[in-house]
């Protein structure tokens, strides 16, 4: 009986690491370009889920005034509040978990990609020996490419960025993305929470980018940039450019 780890390797991790290595070989033995290409491919494949997540988030945000009204009305009756809130969600076809499920599905992809980068760029025998368990034996052009060239621009992709430019870019792009997603709220408590997340999340991601291999940071940065583009076509600039948000939105979001 295969374990969960075996299934994870078979269905997700092994295909990911082999795809990454194949891209490396096909794109001129450049691992930085391979990571960028891999990011684009993954985001394109995840586009339906990403769009569903964005539309669910937007719907949920639009219902906030009505939810707050219910909270005021039924503040002394938790059970009634819960029933009415769920009825409101049903009426508008919104699931409170709707914006979370697509993200959870991406979970194993993030873990797999992180491990793929770490093993593929390992400069230690343990890492290479572990990598040998996951490369398809019949993919000979990949075997012949090992060890990989881990240089890209000023970076050693197996190690963090020495000049800290990537953490700044990741932090900034995370902030832009989050700012675009944040919907204005009349609730002071919600406003405070939004403000806190707007500061905390970019800082935390920037901090982790300092710790992790720069190959992963490139994935993160490219993924953020793609998210910003998708976000723009769904909800426009959002809170990033409030004045621009009052102008007619792009066609894709108007249809929704």
């Amino acid at each position: 009986m295969p374990s969960i780890g075996d299934l994870f390797n078979l269905i997700l991790f092994n295909p990911m690491v082999n795809a990454l290595l194949l891209l490396y070989v096909l794109l001129g033995h450049n691992f930085g370009v391979a990571v960028i290409a891999f990011t684009v491919i993954v985001r394109v494949l995840m586009l339906p889920l990403t769009l569903r997540q964005l539309y669910a988030s937007r719907k949920l945000s639009q219902l906030q005034p009505k939810i707050q009204e219910l909270q005021r009305k039924y503040r002394d009756d938790r059970e009634k509040l819960s029933r009415e809130t769920m009825a409101l969600y049903r009426e508008h076809g919104v699931s409170p978990l709707g914006c979370l499920v697509p993200t959870l599905i991406q979970f194993p992809i993030w873990i797999g990609l992180y491990q793929a980068i770490v093993f593929a760029l390992s400069d230690r025998p343990e890492g290479l020996l572990e990598l040998s368990r996951h490369i398809y034996p019949w993919l000979s052009i990949v075997h012949q490419a090992i060890p990989l060239n881990n240089r890209f621009l000023w970076l050693d992709l197996a190690h963090p960025d020495p000049i800290y430019l990537l953490p700044v870019l990741v932090g900034a792009s995370t902030w832009v993305q989050q700012k675009m997603m944040t919907m204005p709220s009349a609730d002071p408590q919600q406003q405070q929470m939004n403000q806190m997340m707007l500061i905390t999340m970019p800082l935390m991601f920037a901090f982790f980018t300092i710790q992790f291999p720069s190959g992963l940071a490139i994935y993160w940065l490219v993924s953020n940039l793609i998210s910003i583009v998708i976000q723009y076509f769904v909800t426009g600039w959002g809170s990033l450019l409030p004045a621009a948000s009052t102008r007619p939105k792009p066609a894709a979001s108007r249809r929704k």
């Binding site: 025998p125 040998s132 999340m201």
Partner: protein, 356 residues
């Protein structure tokens, strides 16, 4: 997005927890004698310390570094033994030369980058490569640099010294023959994959395997390929060549016995797990240890299992070199246990744990 960001952050932390630790090092065994009249077993433990053991009892005679709380960061290859010296390379970038009988430090040399490959000692020179592709030739008495040779990629394989020739297998896909006295290049051969394992030499032929899953034979004098054999996966250990046959294990879990002259298959043994550890010929028995910790003794003529039962399952991976001497084989596992078996019958002799 905040919920998303939190979830992603948790995912990244989870992934970070799954990241491979390291460097760790691999346990390897080597057999003396380093000093006349004092044959010892030299063990590089998985805890990155060098131990000298009595081959009859397993008693620890000395260890290096001697301090209990100090180690060499990580060591991946067995030490070189000879001329009264034990020489070991470590991930802390250094090569250490010790007195073989007492373990007293004689000299150390900083190579400038982590040392994965073990050193070679012979022809009046110590040769070792490092993770930056630098190959150095050192004076055995003083550790002074005599020559150096640069390659483009790391050198992970122990050099092999044959007469006045030093053979260097590199991760840049090249096998090179250098002059042992000057470090001058004599010839080089390009394989289709990286070469992390050391070559073996017999009857003027050099045998080696690589990450192109191919076992090759080239001429010792000219480096021209004589034959090649395709294995099922990477070949990452040092072959054993004797009596016209080459024995080598692969990460496909097979042990191949090939005719040394033609490369034709004599027999194939299917091990229970991948074979990374260097096999050894001891008293007419081919001893093989695999990544699952199973040790077997095979008959070299036909690959039949002579011994290798439950008592030879060590319960932990064996990825380093197996040593043999004085009728025994010595196997170090990654769980800090070292075992000694009779090489002919496989009868267990002793076992010790180097780290509690």
């Amino acid at each position: 997005m905040s919920r998303t960001a939190l979830v992603l952050l948790l995912g990244l932390l989870g992934a970070a927890a799954c990241a491979p630790p390291g460097p760790h090092g691999w346990a390897n065994a080597a057999f003396g004698p380093a000093a006349p009249g004092a044959p010892l077993v030299y063990l590089v433990g998985a805890e990155a310390k060098l131990f000298a053991l009595d081959p009859d009892t397993g008693q620890v005679r000395w260890q290096f570094p001697p301090e209990a709380d100090r180690n060499l960061t990580a060591v991946y290859s067995p030490p070189a033994v000879g001329d009264g010296l034990v020489v070991v390379g470590a991930y802390d970038r250094k090569v250490y030369a010790l007195d073989g009988a007492t373990g007293a430090a004689r000299w150390e040399f900083d190579t400038g980058a982590p040392v994965i490959a073990g050193p070679a000692l012979g022809a009046g020179i110590v040769v070792v490569g490092n993770g930056a592709g630098r190959v150095v030739g050192l004076d055995p008495a003083s550790g002074r640099l005599r020559w150096e040779y640069r390659t483009e990629r790391p050198v992970w394989a122990r050099p092999v010294i044959v007469g006045t020739t030093v053979l260097i297998a590199g991760m840049d896909h090249h096998l090179r023959a250098l002059d042992a006295r000057s470090g001058q290049l004599r010839w080089q051969f390009r394989a289709d994959g990286a070469l992390p394992g050391s070559p073996a030499v017999d009857q003027e032929l050099v045998f080696f395997g690589g990450l192109d899953s191919t076992i090759r034979a080239v001429g010792l004098e000219d480096g021209r390929e004589r034959w090649r054999f395709s294995a099922g996966h990477w070949v990452w250990n040092t072959p054993v060549a004797a009596g016209g046959t080459v024995y080598v294990g692969g990460l496909d879990g097979k042990v191949y016995a090939l005719d040394a002259v033609s490369g034709r298959t004599r027999w194939v043994y299917a091990a229970p797990h991948r074979v990374k550890a260097d096999p050894v010929l001891a008293d007419g028995v081919l001893v093989v240890a695999d990544e699952g910790g199973q040790v077997v003794g095979l008959r070299p003529s036909d690959g039949q299992v002579l011994w290798g039962g439950q008592e030879h399952n060590l319960g932990a991976p064996v990825v380093g070199a197996v040593a043999a001497g004085r009728g025994r084989v010595f196997v170090a596992a990654q769980n800090y246990w070292v075992y000694s078996f009779d090489s002919v019958t496989g009868a267990p002799k002793w076992r010790i744990q180097t780290r509690k």
